[in-house]
Symmetry: C2
Subunit: 264 residues, 2 copies
């Protein structure tokens, strides 16, 4: 049976094939060690430039790493052989700002005027933390009170992901290492008191619940990065006739190693 | 009388005002020391997404640092008070792929459906080289034989800018420092033999002639970066009814310091 352990070391191409065949419908945080993962957003072409503007203005939450021409589901820069309609474990389909479906395949929703955006994902940086031997705890994602810069119909609060780091040295290394990956959210958006960005309880993620999130310890510092879930929050407000995203945590796995995304 | 020397230390806002009033129509390489400069590209909104795709696929030549909503000439991220119709020294207006005008003001061409893109500029990195005490010679820009990745109507060869560095240490520092600025072309696209990327005579720039470009010395290494002139070459091929760029070397000066663009 497939699990995180035996998916950790397979190639992205093989993992995507398993997803396509319906063999894996779970989160991707620990699959394909070392490969960059991505958030997916699909909008009709007539909204594509406006969505790009939203990403540009809020790049810490929405760094665009690839985009397709209308009608093409193949991300030519990061995984040209992949099919974005079938290769993610779970999708979310929004109609007029409401969640309408949560399918494992969106072939039935596909249209010739749809444009796919792939946004960098913090999972990419997690590989770099692990390679550097940095110990940290992931405590999921939250809705912050940081307001995104609006672009046309796209607006909303910034979702953030939280990691706890023990001691000053690992905190400094975390800032250094994440800064090397501007296309995977890059530098933190906040460090310290969660309440300062509107988060009251870090033990209960707003999106990806962690059953046993132990309380923050005195020697742990909370570090927040922009999170691709921001797009899902924007989708609810934008009320487009059709907008499709991945389900939080169920990312697209690219053919590129994290190191290929790094600056220096 | 205004010259490079007395424009070196004025604020971007003041420099732009002088440009707007017609007091400066020359290149911007040495004005407003330390501030990031940008290439300008204006296309009709119905081509904006396709142009963004071209930039994404050729980011080393065309890194997008700001874009405006249709009809707005104000770059909200990098200089919200500026007016892109008047604040650059010289523009180039292309109609159906032909240079139609070279005005110092494009107010007369403005339409409500025009979208402005600002692309990072290597001048930004030059400040960082100078602050680091690195000696180099600028030898202008050239058309290389590196073919850009096509996006719809946008295609063409990549333009590159050339700098000569003396000795190994300055070469290594140049790679390190430029890599910190992915939004200003970042890492070099080629190092060494100019002929390898189709350039036969580095003493005669294809775009910004240097009167006294001395031949390359044995201890100098040629280092090439992607260049925003790539967009002008693409404009000639795209044959859009209307496309406006700055004239090579006559850049937009932003309100942001080069250091604010740096990763780390």
């Amino acid at each position: 049976m497939l699990n995180n352990a035996n998916l950790k070391n397979i190639a992205p191409k093989d993992f995507r094939q398993k997803v396509r065949q319906g063999e894996w419908g779970e989160p991707t945080a620990n699959v394909c060690f070392g490969y960059a993962q991505a958030n997916l957003v699909i909008v009709p072409k007539d909204m594509a430039f406006e969505f790009f503007l939203f990403c540009l203005r809020n790049w810490m939450a929405c760094p665009v790493i690839d985009a397709t021409q209308a009608g093409s589901p193949h991300p030519s820069l990061v995984a040209p052989e992949a099919d974005l309609r079938t290769d993610l474990p779970v999708y979310r389909v929004f109609r007029n700002g409401k969640l309408a479906d949560e399918p494992t395949d969106i072939t039935g929703y596909w249209r010739d005027d749809l444009v796919c955006f792939l946004l960098g994902c913090i999972n990419t940086i997690d590989w770099a933390f692990r390679v550097a031997g940095i110990k940290f705890r992931r405590l999921g994602a939250f809705t912050s009170n940081i307001e995104c810069v609006q672009a046309g119909r796209f607006s909303g609060p910034m979702a953030v992901s939280l990691r706890l780091f023990k001691g000053t040295e690992s905190l400094i290394r975390a800032i250094q290492i994440s800064s090397r990956f501007p296309n995977a959210h890059g530098v933190p958006v906040h460090i310290g008191d969660p309440a300062a960005i509107g988060i009251s309880d870090i033990c209960h993620s707003d999106f990806v619940p962690h059953a046993n999130a132990a309380p923050q310890q005195p020697d742990e510092t909370a570090v927040f990065w922009g999170c691709g879930i921001t797009v899902e929050l924007a989708a609810l407000r934008a009320k487009l006739p059709l907008m499709i995203t991945h389900k939080a945590g169920h990312m697209f796995v690219t053919d590129l190693l994290a190191g290929e995304f790094a600056i220096l």
